[in-house]
Symmetry: C2
Amino acid sequence: MTKCKCVNCDCNIIHEDDVKAVRGKMLDDDILIATADFYKVLSDSTRIKIINALDEKELCVCDISSLLNMTKSAVSHQLQNLKDMNLIKSRRAGKEIFYSLADNHVRQVFEISLQHVLEERNDKASEN
Amino acid sequence: MTKCKCVNCDCNIIHEDDVKAVRGKMLDDDILIATADFYKVLSDSTRIKIINALDEKELCVCDISSLLNMTKSAVSHQLQNLKDMNLIKSRRAGKEIFYSLADNHVRQVFEISLQHVLEERNDKASEN
DNA sequence: AGAATGGTTGAAGAAATATTCAACTGTTTT
DNA sequence: AAAACAGTTGAATATTTCTTCAACCATTCT
């Protein structure tokens, strides 16, 4: 066990070999940050509802606002977030702008996590 | 097109049939909120780094703190968040408490999204 | 061209979340 | 039993994020 040389941490390195080994295998910071940012887009119930809706059908902003019972502005802001992270795409048709899911990755991730959530709920339900 | 009856939205329902159809197919609010909450746990780079580290090996708090260059307290708070959402588990061994991933769902979701992030980066790199 | 409609934007206020700090618990060491 | 170590906790501060508001742009309708 050696005193940790970190600037910001207040502890000892207890298992020095393990720490070295893990440090060597960990992904680069910028990749992990990008991954967290990817989840960040999905971590808001408004955005998840939008994804769930667009998973069914291409929709315009007003339709989404009506579905979620929210203002156009609030929805539009969230659509921008989703678009910035390449989860959705848009096309203009006259005055309206239609939004749809960008690709299947999104569907895939959404479905696996949904499965996880549903299983958790079943586990908890059967505990009683 | 009909005036929307929503309390909180400031728009018209433009495609009434679509909205009705999608509303009928959308998942329950509480499921979607639980799904967003699941992502919320993964949406912080500190927590993602912890998951990435624990994916390699079971570790104690000090080792994680040293790896991430953070205080024990900050790490411990985040470990609690991860544990509350059943993404990790712990076991005590003397003074130390070892943390590890809870199950394979977590690994699965992590790996798919990592793949998504890496592909995005490749796409962007090849645009130049 | 002017009005109406669909949608966007930036700034501000409101709400949620992360880190820090200081005090604390549990276990081991002496 | 006291000291040292590993870790936790709650409150406070700092930071981020969401929604609202008001003004705006783009397209269509008359």
